[in-house]
């Protein structure tokens, strides 16, 4: 059973630059051909300061923590029986290539379903830029399965 006393625990914050090359790699990996997401000139023409980070890309930068398995280790999660249950983004400002973003994740909840066969944990992350402007809020719900075959 996941340790409920960890609810409210703040994970180590980290800062990371939104890199152009990484955005192009993400575009390739997601089949994105829209020049706004590939080309600086096209992005500027569309009104962005630089190539924008696509809607779900902040989740990828969140993975760029120097210790990406911190939460898994803290909760003692089994990766082979871990599912991503839900994900949400609330956007305040668009992040663009060149921005340096700070991620402040916090374990905000743990609860169980099906008599404890499934346990859910919620990570909420505030994202700000180097000026302290609020960029977005991320919410990730993970699911740990405890018995039987993975579903």
């Amino acid at each position: 059973m996941l340790d409920r006393t960890l609810i409210g625990h703040c994970l180590t914050p980290h800062s990371v630059e939104v890199e152009k090359g990484r955005l192009r790699f993400f575009a390739k990996a997601t089949g994105q051909l829209d020049p706004v997401y590939l080309n600086e000139a096209a992005a500027r023409q569309a009104g962005y300061r630089n190539i924008p980070a696509p809607p779900t890309f902040l989740f990828c930068l969140e993975n760029d923590s120097p210790d990406p398995w911190e939460l898994q280790r803290l909760l003692g999660l089994d990766l082979g029986r871990l599912l991503h249950g839900e994900q949400s983004f609330v956007y305040h400002r668009i992040a663009c290539a060149g921005d340096v973003l700070t991620f402040e994740p916090r374990l905000s909840d743990i609860y169980s379903r099906r008599d404890g066969a499934l346990e859910f944990f919620v990570r909420e992350t505030r994202v700000t830029d180097a000026m302290g402007e609020h960029i977005a809020d991320l919410r990730c719900v993970g699911v740990q399965q405890h018995d039987g075959r993975p579903v």
């Binding site: 993400f26 997601t30 994105q32 696509p54 989740f59 983004f89 956007y91 075959r149």
Partner: protein, 142 residues
Amino acid sequence: MSRGADSPGPQPLRLAPIDRTMLALYAGASSDHNPVHIDSDFARRAGLPDVFAHGMLSMAYLGRFLTDWIPQSRIRRFSVRFVSRVELGAALLCSGEILDINEHDGERLARVEVRVTGEAGELKVIGEACVALAPVAGTRLR
């Protein structure tokens, strides 16, 4: 509140079938290196038939589906629930429609249901995006 029928919604987006190369590329681009998505040996040891797609790859496709329709600067919120695993070979379809339109803080905000389904129409991901329909002069885009 008005119904969405008078505003054109997003157009369905059909994706190429999921293969191992796509999962390897997505793992690299996303920094999600969970071996259950890229290492068949690990997946089998965990009792799974094989690797399966990152949920966030499906959500990234939904992001494309939205930004093919409206500029990203108009997306206010975007949330999904991952309903079932996306297996190798799955030919995914992104679709969705406007549920309703409301005025909020001087913006016309559309609530859009978004879905990822497999070839037989089985639900993989369901969610909701909130997008501003009217351009907002000078804000949000910096």
